[in-house]
């Protein structure tokens, strides 16, 4: 359980690292403030996404422990929930690239 939590924390931290990709793109952005705002927005989105996914995973793990017979259904709900929360952080990432 602790290993899985560490793995999840590392994975989520790494998934938030697209912010590094911002600094690699020096192709003449119009305004430094826009980029700064985009970086901060991405950080906030990634952090809140991490919180949401943590709660989802915690509830799913607890439910699976309480009711081992329903593991398959809970796993489907968990994956669906995680991906929907992830997509909110991804929308922020896309807007970051638009704001360059």
């Amino acid at each position: 359980m602790k290993n899985k939590l560490m793995m999840l924390v590392v994975t989520l931290t790494v998934l938030a690292s697209p912010i590094f990709a911002q600094e690699a793109n020096n192709a003449g952005a119009a305004d430094a403030n826009r980029r700064a705002a985009a970086y901060i927005a991405m950080g906030i989105a990634a952090g809140l996404c991490g919180l949401g996914q943590g709660r989802a995973t915690a509830s799913a793990a607890e439910a699976m422990a309480r009711n081992p017979g329903a593991v398959a259904a809970i796993r489907v709900a968990l994956i669906l929930g995680l991906v929907l929360i992830e997509s909110l952080a991804l929308y922020t990432l896309v807007i970051t690239f638009i704001a360059r």
Partner: protein, 242 residues
């Protein structure tokens, strides 16, 4: 922009037919000498691969001595069939062809980017958009076919008095679905490539391999999720029969 070797091949061999098709639909290529784009060529490669794979499977089908390919394809079919039955309900397995096609096509497109010399077509906005639009028309079409004109009653909400409020909300949420499908698939694949390239720049040795592994996992997951969400939408459209 740097072209892939296979795009170069297509442009040299097939630029005539490509220009003919594009001009025929009044959408001329931006560069008449090279009408094939990277993502189009890679999509065609995936389609050809799938056709060859299934032709091979078909010729080797056997009941007593199934080979490895047949086992893998049977597993995939069972997986899609069971998911369809669970998510869509009793009518789910009617649409297994569509869901299975979505799953296999998106999975192979995502994974093609890991092969050197090719790129993931899903890392360009147009390809996930096309898939999402097809899914949108598919689930509305199946809803209409299952429920007839009564399909539109689900837009009115639980009570008729709430209809003026519910209709705009339902319309917006229905249009947000292909948008979110597109952005989810596109951003996952695009960001996966960017993260891998960034880490390749930062630490030139072993660490980028971890990111290829992550990208592979995300490729599987995103293909599964696209299929699952398509099933959820079809289930929502079809379910108002009883």
């Amino acid at each position: 922009m740097h072209e892939l070797w296979i795009t170069n091949l297509f442009n040299r061999a097939l630029s005539g037919p490509a220009n003919a098709v594009l001009d025929g639909v009044h959408f001329p290529a931006q560069d008449h000498a090279n009408p094939w784009t990277d993502w189009m060529v890679c999509e065609v490669v995936v389609v050809l691969f799938i056709v060859v794979l299934f032709a091979l499977l078909r010729s080797r089908l056997s009941v007593d001595k199934p080979g490895k390919l047949q086992h893998v394809m049977e597993l995939t079919y069972e997986f899609v069939h069971a998911s369809a039955e669970e998510v869509v309900g009793h009518d789910g397995p009617r649409y297994v062809a569509f869901f299975g096609t979505l799953f296999i096509f998106i999975l192979l497109m995502n994974v093609l980017g890991l092969v050197p010399g090719f790129e993931s077509p899903t890392a360009y906005t147009m390809v996930p958009l096309g898939l999402a639009v097809v899914t949108f028309f598919f689930y509305h079409g199946t809803g209409l076919r299952a429920n007839g004109a009564g399909y539109f009653k689900q837009f009115l909400g639980p009570m008729l008095a709430l209809a003026p409020l519910m209709i705009p909300i339902e319309i917006i949420s229905h249009f947000a679905r292909p948008l979110s499908l597109t952005i989810r698939l596109y951003a996952n694949m695009f960001a996966g490539e960017k993260v891998y390239l960034t880490f390749l720049m930062l630490t030139k040795l072993l660490v980028p391999v971890v990111f290829i592994g992550l990208h592979l996992f995300v490729a599987f997951l995103q293909a599964y999720i696209f299929m699952l969400l398509a099933m959820v939408y079809v289930g929502g459209a079809v379910s108002h029969e009883h």
